[in-house]
Symmetry: C2
Subunit: 113 residues, 2 copies
């Protein structure tokens, strides 16, 4: 191309008509993983706890297996943990994003109009 | 994957920080090509003429060459025509969309968490 074009893209994964993942939900999972807390993750994303909790609930439902689980007991009690399936989902979504980005960038190099 | 996931995606092409194309703008170009008229295309997309005209102007500016040109004179006069560069842009954007779709679908088949 004669001009230097760049590209933005967004990917959402659905189960039927219901959204399972998008970049925001993956970011929420990442922050829960890091902080061990839905409410801290929610605050970091400037979301209400209710909103974050609802997203987590939807992801757990729609992914077909729990991605986040409440941790009962323990000294601090009441934390949340991202399950191995959740960690897998984060990794695979991020990999998909990266691969799609590379794919698109290789394609737009060849665009010429 | 154990569930049947599907994917949605959107692609936008930018020049610097300015959007050149997205699916809506490409649809606008397609309708101008078909109808020979920005105002008819705008009406079909439930946009104001002003809004459509602004999009066309931005695309012409940002693409580095005119994609839509006013046709002067002639019996009906005042129509608009999509240039060969515009037709190329439509074709290449749609091809990119299709190829990205195929790429993503092939990738999500292998997702498993």
């Amino acid at each position: 191309m004669e001009k230097n074009f760049s590209v933005k893209y967004r990917i959402w994964i659905f189960s039927g008509k219901e959204k399972v993942f998008g970049i925001g939900r993956i970011e929420l999972l990442e922050k829960i993983k890091k902080t061990g807390s839905i409410s801290t993750a929610a605050a970091q994303m400037k979301m209400s706890y209710r909103q974050a909790w609802q997203m987590v609930n939807e992801m757990n439902d729609r992914a077909g297996k729990p991605l986040v689980e409440k941790q009962l007991g323990g000294k601090s009690g009441g934390g949340s943990v991202v399950t191995p399936a959740g960690i897998n989902a984060i990794r695979q979504f991020n990999l998909l994003e990266q691969e799609v980005g590379e794919f698109i960038r290789s394609k737009i190099k060849k665009m010429n109009f």
